[in-house]
């Protein structure tokens, strides 16, 4: 196990690579496989150098996602600790059966006599010019699957720590990375004790509004919070970090202090995981809330490839700032007539994007 050194600046993708290297060094039963992960070093370089260093424990696979995930499951049930890569989150759709009907049931249905200590890495989100089949944010699907753990790192540090926690976990864990964050750098302390899975983090303290976000939108949320601060509003930004286990206590504690809640994610608004956070708050934090809960997400459309259209679809600091404005002038809403058609929140989000 590598010594604990001081923090160093690493790219998000380098942090992933470091965690994978750590896994192969510290867990002899660890295996890494996926498409183009061995000789080519991974489509995004996450597995760079690992095949050279660890040989057959890191190998390339056919373009067969169901086989990749199922093979990880069977190997995990039989003593290995597979860490697999699904190149894009969109491709998980060809293998959802292996996730929901196979992997996730392993422990429960066997009364705990079988377990599947496997880690599934993927990445998601839009990028300029990417098509609808390479741009989705489907974390809500996984947050709805009991038996599965789901981590979603927003920084190089968490790309390292959350992945290590996932690998060390005895439960099947999905780690959803962000392609657009791969080049971003940040401080990472290599080695050291592995954190238990779970736990949200207050990444910017505040007192007027609680802003919950995850993955790439945490950065946008912080930018929005800074802009709000310039206008004299103190926004507390919480990085959810894990959808399962879900640390709602940290959210509730914050809302108890702020009385206002905004949730922001890149996924399509309707049915996004933001709805779960809002629904819990509407029950657990009801008496603390001074304003309606606002959600920001992509409108309910497939993600278009053209940047001019993406600009109107992908939430950012501006749209989040609009939602912060809405919760701050809450009471004003009282005399706002209820929209006759039952407003499509996705469109609301799109509208506030023009703000």
């Amino acid at each position: 196990m590598p010594e604990i050194a001081g923090p160093q600046e690493l790219r998000y993708i380098q942090a992933v690579n470091a965690a994978l290297r750590w896994a192969l060094e510290t867990h002899p039963e660890a295996l890494i496989f996926g498409e183009d992960v061995a000789l080519p070093g991974g489509p995004f370089g996450a597995t760079k150098g690992l095949h050279d260093a660890f040989g057959g424990r890191v190998f390339d696979t056919p373009i067969s996602e169901a086989a990749i995930i199922g093979a990880a499951l069977g190997a995990g049930m039989r003593g290995r600790r597979p860490i697999i890569e699904i190149m894009y989150g969109d491709f998980m759709a060809v293998a959802m059966d292996q996730i929901v009907n196979q992997v996730a049931n392993t422990r429960y249905v066997s009364r705990g006599t079988w377990s599947a200590p496997i880690t599934i890495r993927t990445q998601q989100g839009y990028s300029p010019g990417a098509c609808a089949q390479h741009s989705q944010s489907l974390e809500a699907w996984y947050g709805h699957i009991p038996g599965l753990r789901v981590g979603i790192p927003a920084s190089p540090r968490d790309a390292y720590e959350i992945l290590r926690s996932a690998i060390a976990s005895e439960d099947p864990t999905l780690v959803i990375e962000s392609r657009l964050l791969y080049p971003d750098t940040g401080p990472v302390t290599l080695g050291g004790p592995v954190e238990p899975i779970g736990g949200a983090r207050v990444v910017r303290p505040g007192s007027d509004v609680t802003l919950v976000s995850w993955s790439r939108l945490v950065t946008e949320s912080i930018r929005a919070a800074e802009a709000a601060a310039a206008e004299g509003h103190s926004v507390e930004v919480i990085d959810l970090r894990w959808l399962s286990p879900l640390d709602f206590a940290t959210v509730a504690e914050s809302v108890h202090r702020t009385g206002r809640l905004v949730i922001a994610h890149e996924a399509n608004l309707t049915g996004g995981f933001g709805a779960e956070i809002a629904a819990r708050a509407a029950r657990e934090c009801f008496w603390d809330l001074d304003a309606p809960i606002e959600r920001i997400g992509a409108p309910d459309i497939p993600i278009p490839a053209a940047p001019s259209l993406q600009a109107a679809a992908i939430p950012d600091a501006t749209s989040i700032l609009g939602a912060i404005g809405n919760v701050l002038d809450g009471p004003a809403r009282r005399d706002r007539p209820a929209s006759p058609a039952g407003p499509r929140l996705g469109q609301d989000a799109a509208r506030s994007l023009d703000a």
């Binding site: 086989a67 199922g70 069977g74 049930m77 293998a95 059966d97 009907n101 006599t113």
Partner: protein, 328 residues
Amino acid sequence: MSRGAIRRRHPGAVVSLEENYRAIALIRAFEDRCSELKAAGEIPGSIHLCNGQEAIPVGACRALESRDALTATYRGHGWAIARGIPLVDLFAELLARDSVLCGGRAGSPYFSSAAHGFLGENSIVGGGVPMAAGAALASLHDGRGAVSLVSIGDGALNQGAVHEALNFAAVYSLPLVIVVENNVYSEMTPIDAMVRIKPLSRRADAYGIPGLTVDGNDADTVTDAVGAAVVRARQGGGPTLIEALTERLVGHYSGDLQHYRPAGELASAREREPLVRLRHAAVARGQDSTYRLDEIDREVAELVDMSLASARTISYPDARTVADHVYA
């Protein structure tokens, strides 16, 4: 292993007619009892019996060692019994009791037994083949030399996940043996109408692995085929696909009226089924031999009775444990 367990057949060793009869009769008796229990409402949910197909698990499990991995489908009672899972535990699971297998969480179509290297049944057609390939992958890396055997039905060959897993296993020469139980039908549709090839073992060539078609109603034939595949797998020779021809003597599931089966098909199938064949062979050998089989029928019935009786003494799972075991 329980009295129900199969003795492994060592290379060359001969299995007596009686031994084959006992192993098959035990599964048959278990399945028949399940039909009664289902009719009586003692088993909740639908069950998928293997009447007529018993020689396949019996013959195949004889070629396996305890270190090997086994994966089956919802039609897996026979595999579990041939693997040596005690009847009492199976009855308990099927009766939705707090069984040592899955504590009633799995039921008839989805139970497993870690203690027996039985990765489990699977109620998603073909869903267990990738998992079985993974068990073979583990063996490649832990050096324990275990082989992974998976049973699927004829219709499962048309599932994408099966295709992916077979190619995956072929590419790394994984120690995997795929047994395709061709029982003529996929649920209520004849497999002949759903593929354009015959025999189904031709599919093996698409992966560059050996494929063969054998008589699935003769346990020794199955043992020979699976045994050879297991040896090849252990020696690094990679996967083998074995199509075992057989016929269902009962419906696809409890309550299947089988109106889709042509007249006379079942009647003639009953002449070809494993137990009847062994009976004929015994008759040819003379009275002593047939008496012996009658005796086995009694012993087997007794074992089934005893097992069911003790299964019935096991309590139902406690509702307060409903949320246990979701996570470590």
